[in-house]
């Protein structure tokens, strides 16, 4: 009987959390914009969330591009198809690796810090203080961070794609000696802007909404103590990573016409 109670309690709590997070998102998106202040807050947060994530994203992209090219070259070599390296690299990066890896790195670098920062603001009563000063923390704290995440991640994904392809060129063309003209012309003929480049950016936009939503929600409702903040940060990373991978499958199926 106790087991049934536990399942029931878990179900009810989960429903409450989902409803609460939906209402939370609705309130963040529904904020009346005050552009003068908002622009400054957005720029500040885009710098913290996006610009400061650049180094890890670009370095990772460079190495991932290099390793994909190296692995791809040796596989394609078995079939005598090394001239297809550019095509393989571009499609792998633009469709899958770019959006997914950038989002995962973004979660580790930016979303975890968003959750910890907001949770700490809760623990040190900064959010309560804002409420008491008649300033809505959803407007002043959450909204700029949420929008900064949504703007930054697709841009970071585009930069990841460019850098990863450059890394692939370094290995494939400059080191392993694939013909430069063949490399680029095969890539150009195989890559479709709408179904490959644009769809990859759409994926990253969806990831951006979901992971930033999870990060700010977990921070805002974190228990105001060290254990609470640590749990909230862990939940952000775990839930966001799983959501990225699950959504990636669903979006890929949708975009390829599987559904």
């Amino acid at each position: 009987m106790e087991f049934v109670f536990k399942i029931g309690r878990f179900g009810v709590t989960s429903c409450i959390r989902i409803g609460q997070s939906g209402f939370f998102l609705f309130r963040v998106i529904g904020q009346k914009p005050r552009w003068g202040q908002l622009l400054f807050l957005w720029i500040e947060q885009i710098y913290r969330v996006g610009v400061l994530s650049l180094i890890i994203i670009l370095l990772s992209a460079l190495f991932i591009g290099m390793v994909v090219a190296l692995q791809g070259y040796h596989i394609l070599e078995k079939f005598g198809a090394t001239e297809e390296l550019g095509q393989m690299l571009a499609l792998t990066v633009l469709r899958e690796l770019g959006p997914v890896i950038t989002a995962l790195l973004f979660v580790g670098r930016a979303c975890s810090s968003l959750t910890a920062e907001i949770g700490l603001m809760r623990a040190t009563q900064q959010l309560d203080c804002m409420e008491m000063m008649a300033v809505d923390p959803l407007w002043r704290v959450i909204s700029p961070r949420f929008w900064a995440g949504i703007i930054s991640l697709p841009l970071l994904t585009i930069l990841f794609n460019v850098t990863a392809i450059y890394g692939g060129v370094l290995v494939g063309v400059d080191w392993l000696g694939v013909d430069s003209g063949t490399f680029w012309s095969n890539m150009q003929s195989a890559v479709n802007f709408r179904s490959d480049v644009f769809n990859g950016v759409i994926k990253s936009l969806v990831f951006a909404v979901v992971v930033t939503w999870i990060a700010v929600y977990q921070g805002f409702y974190a228990a105001p103590n060290s254990l609470g903040i640590s749990r909230a940060t862990t939940k952000t990373v775990v839930y966001s990573s799983l959501m990225i991978l699950a959504l990636d499958f669903a979006l890929t199926a949708l975009m390829m016409g599987g559904w």
Binding site: Q37, Q125, E131, M132, M133, A134, V135
Partner: protein, 267 residues
């Protein structure tokens, strides 16, 4: 239910539970305009929670909290914001925004709620910082301040919009004797010079006796004594005397309720 017309805050029969634990079991109190009223009691009795009720951040299970003649739980979000602009609250740890300088912390409310030009904001902020003795620290970041300085900056920020009601949540906790003296002076001077009404939540008997005009003592979820400090401190109520004299055991037991010790050891 009526309210006391001389009072800026009236609390009637307030009941509140946190989970299964009852915090308030029928609190009655009135905060008169122009006075410094202290709310005292042992740790964990809900003194800070009471301030959150006055600020409209919590909803009671039963009873009413009237602020300026309005039941605060009935206010819409918009009206509650207007009401909160007339209140100032100094949080226990100051709650300064750690990503802003001292100047920007104090200017925060002006930037959020007014359209004043920058030079006027500059002058107003420096005036408030001068009042708390920290004009020279306006350029510092929050992490460069001592605990006492942080509380004084938070005080300057809290009175920035000249509130009618100023609330202090444990302002003396963790302060050295000099800072305690500074805070007592500031609380008294701000109350009298700005014609505020002050609610001071504290468990520091000595400091409260120096600054408060009126006193409420809370224990076991109810008010167990109220009056002028000298009257309350000499009242014979045992719980009150235990608190005033700082006795480790008495009506408030030293031991947290537990099973029989012998039975637990021999288990």
């Amino acid at each position: 239910m009526s309210f006391d017309h001389d009072a800026i805050v009236t609390i009637r029969d307030l009941h509140f539970r946190r989970g299964e634990k009852p915090i308030f079991k029928g609190i009655h109190l009135s905060i008169r305009r122009g006075f410094v009223t202290a709310i005292m009691g042992p740790s964990g009795v809900g003194k800070s929670t009471l301030l959150r009720f006055i600020g409209g951040q919590l909803r009671s299970d039963a009873g009413q909290v009237w602020v300026k003649g309005v039941d605060i739980s009935t206010l819409s979000r918009k009206k509650l914001k207007v009401m909160r602009r007339q209140m100032g609250l100094l949080f226990q740890e100051g709650a300064l925004f750690s990503d802003l300088t001292v100047f920007e912390n104090v200017a925060f409310l002006l930037r959020e709620h007014t359209q004043l030009p920058e030079d006027m904001i500059h002058d107003l902020v420096l005036m408030k910082l001068e009042a708390v003795g920290l004009r020279g620290a306006h350029h510092l970041m929050v992490n460069e301040l001592s605990g006492g300085m942080a509380r004084r900056v938070a005080l300057a920020r809290a009175v920035m919009l000249d509130p009618e009601l100023m609330m202090y949540d444990e302002p003396f906790t963790g302060q050295d004797p000099i800072n305690r003296g500074v805070l007592i002076k500031l609380i008294r001077e701000l109350n009298d010079a700005m014609r505020l009404t002050t609610i001071l939540v504290s468990h520091d008997v000595h400091e409260v006796s120096r600054v408060a005009d009126y006193l409420y003592i809370i224990a076991d979820g109810v008010v167990i004594g109220d009056g002028k400090p000298e009257e309350v401190f000499h009242a014979p109520e045992p719980r009150l005397q235990q608190f005033i004299q700082g006795l480790p055991d008495g009506p408030v037991p030293f031991q947290y309720p537990a099973k029989n010790f012998q039975e637990e050891l021999l288990r």
